[in-house]
């Protein structure tokens, strides 16, 4: 059988295409490397999910080799399995969208024209996108409705233009410490924003509302409230999903992809034909598959005759920080508010999405605030050491654990700013290291432009001001060049010029008539927000393009 569409990967990049095309009557097959889990399979078992990483491959079976280039241009090689350094995010139907926290921010109009708006930066490959915010806006709105985004639109300095006044779903219930936050921001003249979340605040879209289980990010949602590609889209369409199907090669002739070759769970090989192929295996693995799919027509890898595949890999730059609130500085009522669990701390600052320094306009970013993750073991482990850094045990440890966890709580912040694309940050292939299927693994070359950390530090200082104003103690933060493995994009950037981009503005490979890439690979720059909303929106946009193509 030849399918109309074959999609590789079922996460935020693949699921909208499967949803739209199968609902329009086209035959759609999705090849997903992971297993299928449904709401009834999800639980809050910290040991399985967080300690033993149930939803990601074992590194001894599947890994990456990482090359890190430091500021002195010294390159260090790390083998993922030896260093326990993982870039996997969720191998399962729906991909890592099952495990996201669902902090949903749109890109701003200037994110689509970073070069025009802010100019060149030495050593960075900044470009404008081939589409504008206005072209993507209807799809951001569609994601709000179809995937489900809850929140409250409030006016602020960088509120992006919207075609609707409000979110379709009201904001989630909040911890009362948000009121402390709002007061602190008010006194500082900062604009507090309720963070939109891809979580349903009431029953809708044939899904249950959030149960406020207290364990959201990193965990699958047992109610279906979280807008994963699986719960929101794949479970509502009749696309054929083949699970535990690892695609190791795309076969092509000079102009078209003809077959996808994959291994099943028993390591048996299969092949599958389709009129159109959509690649959405997450940025690193999508580039790896193209680079591993060399043939007579594409000797450097599929769609890679211009040697652009894998280039300009980006992450979200920035970092994280925290402050601790201790009972001894709070009233009884405040203590009660502080320890209220389940409800969310949804607050963000975007006032410095753009700022001026020495008269120059600088692209800034977003700061999200959230309570420390409820996973218990990491919080207890922090109490293993005393103030002098000495490890504790026995009664001293018991007392410290009890005090830290019952009479204080940590408020975290996360900074998101642009990870500038450079020649030194890219995906390659490590020919000598194979995965369990015998396929060469991806080589991740990391480099962070110094500008990224300058901006991150500026933003972190603003977050610290808020924490201080709130009365938090033990405030600290870290802005570093370490990439967050769950916020990865680029490698197949879209653009007008086939010499400098892999995809055209429709996310179709310049070099092939029937290959599209719809995960975050297409992004030439990443903006200063988490990517998932934009991945969803762009995949819905490409789905419309495919619908028109197939109907014509």
């Amino acid at each position: 059988m030849t399918y109309d569409i074959c999609i590789i990967g079922s996460g935020a990049g693949g699921s909208p295409v499967a949803y739209e095309l199968s609902r329009a009557g086209f035959s759609v097959v999705v090849l997903e490397k992971g297993k299928e889990y449904k709401e009834e399979d999800f639980n809050k078992d910290e040991l399985a999910v967080s300690r033993r990483q149930l939803f990601t491959p074992e590194l001894k079976e599947e890994q990456h080799v990482i090359y890190e280039l430091d500021e002195n241009k010294k390159r260090t090689r790390y083998v993922g399995s030896e260093e326990q350094w993982s870039f996997w995010n969720g191998s399962m139907v729906g991909g890592s969208s099952n495990l996201m926290s669902g902090f949903f921010h749109r890109l701003k109009p200037n994110d689509f024209k970073l070069l025009s708006a802010y100019g060149k930066i030495e050593g960075a490959n900044i470009v404008d996108w081939p589409i504008s915010y206005e072209e993507l806006e209807p799809y951001y709105e569609k994601v709000e409705r179809v995937v489900g985004v809850s929140g409250e639109v409030v006016p602020h300095s960088f509120l992006e233009p919207r075609s609707t006044e409000q979110f379709p779903y009201p904001k989630l219930q909040e911890n009362r410490v948000t009121e402390w936050f709002d007061r602190a921001c008010n006194s500082l003249g900062f604009e507090s924003i309720a963070t939109p979340r891809a979580i349903l605040s009431h029953t809708a879209l044939e899904r249950n509302s959030c149960s406020y289980s207290n364990f959201c990010g990193s965990y699958g949602c047992a109610t279906g409230a979280k807008g994963s590609g699986r719960a929101a889209l794949l479970q509502k369409c009749n696309a054929t999903i083949i699970t535990q199907a690892f695609v190791y090669k795309l076969e092509s002739d000079a102009t078209k992809v003809t077959k996808a070759h994959y291994y099943d769970a028993d390591f048996k090989t299969h092949e599958l034909s389709a009129k159109i192929f959509v690649l959405a295996a997450q940025a690193i693995e999508s580039s790896r598959l193209l680079l591993n799919s060399k043939n007579h027509f594409f000797p450097h890898g599929l769609a890679n005759n211009e040697k652009q595949v894998g280039k300009n890999l980006i992450f979200s730059a920035g970092g994280a920080g925290e402050g601790r609130f201790r009972f001894e500085m709070l009233t009884k009522e405040q203590q009660k508010e502080l320890m209220e669990v389940g409800v969310f701390f949804n607050r963000s600052l975007q006032q410095w999405y753009e700022y001026k320094k020495s008269g120059k306009k600088i692209k800034g970013g977003t700061i999200d605030f959230l309570f420390e993750h409820q996973d218990l073991i990491p919080r207890i482990k922090r109490a293993f050491y005393d103030e002098r850094g000495q490890i504790l045990w026995g009664e001293a440890l018991a007392q410290r654990v009890h005090k830290e966890l019952t009479t204080s709580r940590v408020l975290n912040f996360e900074v998101f700013n642009d990870w500038l694309p450079t020649d030194e940050c890219f995906i390659g292939i490590e020919e000598d290291v194979k995965d369990k299927y015998g396929i060469a693994v991806g080589a991740i070359h990391l480099y962070s432009h110094p500008h990224d950390r300058e901006v991150g530090n500026e933003l972190a200082k603003k977050a610290v001001e808020v924490l201080k104003q709130m009365g938090a103690k033990e405030i600290s933060y870290s802005i570093s060049s370490s990439p967050p493995s769950n916020l990865v994009a680029g490698g197949c950037r879209f653009g007008e010029n086939p010499k400098t981009s892999v995809l055209d503005k429709n996310c179709k490979a310049h070099a092939l008539e029937n290959l599209y890439v719809t995960d975050a690979s297409f992004m030439p720059t990443g903006g200063s927000v988490p990517y998932t909303w934009t991945i969803y929106a762009n995949a819905f946009r490409v789905a419309d393009i495919l619908l028109k193509r197939l109907k014509s």
């Binding site: 639980n43 399985a48 001894k60 149960s211 218990l376 073991i377 490890i391 026995g394 440890l397």
Partner: protein, 163 residues
């Protein structure tokens, strides 16, 4: 698999086999890793016993897990050897033949070494996993540790152990 069956299995596995000890340059004898680790866990966090959590059984369970690397397992075993060697050096006796106070002295001594600090941290981490494991894992049946910290586990709970 019941715990007793697991225990029997482990008696035949890497932690079941004896660890050879050297004192000075000569062979001193052999020790049982399981017996040592169970006692060290008790010495490191006696609260677990008070909370009726079976940290030793959990250690047996977790060290069978495919996602706990061979290097980590080997490190725990090596730590047993090094602990006893330190004990011999300080007091001329095996760790489990010392008084409670002297065992604490040995722990204090090894915590000054980077291997010792990391070994203690590893054992404490597994103890804490046991303390806050779901009832399906069978080592923390009364949720006493959760009550001690006023912690509410997330729901739904797992229906089966991922081990």
């Amino acid at each position: 698999m019941t715990f007793n069956m697991r225990r029997n299995f482990f008696k035949q596995s890497f932690l079941g086999g004896a660890v050879l000890l050297f004192y000075g340059s000569s062979l001193f004898g052999a020790v049982e890793p399981l017996k040592t680790l169970a006692l060290v866990q008790e010495d490191l966090f006696p609260k677990a016993k008070e909370l009726e959590v079976d940290t030793a059984s959990y250690l047996l369970l977790i060290l069978e897990h495919s996602r706990v690397s061979s290097a980590k397992k080997e490190f725990l075993r090596n730590g047993v050897q090094w602990l006893h060697e330190e004990s011999l050096k300080l007091y001329g006796k095996l760790y489990y033949n010392l008084s409670q106070q002297k065992r604490q002295d040995v722990l204090q001594e090894i915590s000054e070494y980077s291997w010792g600090e990391f070994w203690i941290e590893s054992l404490l981490t597994y103890s804490m996993e046991a303390l806050y494991s779901d009832a399906v894992y069978g080592v923390n049946k009364k949720d006493a540790a959760q009550k001690w910290l006023g912690f509410h586990s997330g729901e739904p709970h797992p229906k089966r152990a991922y081990l």
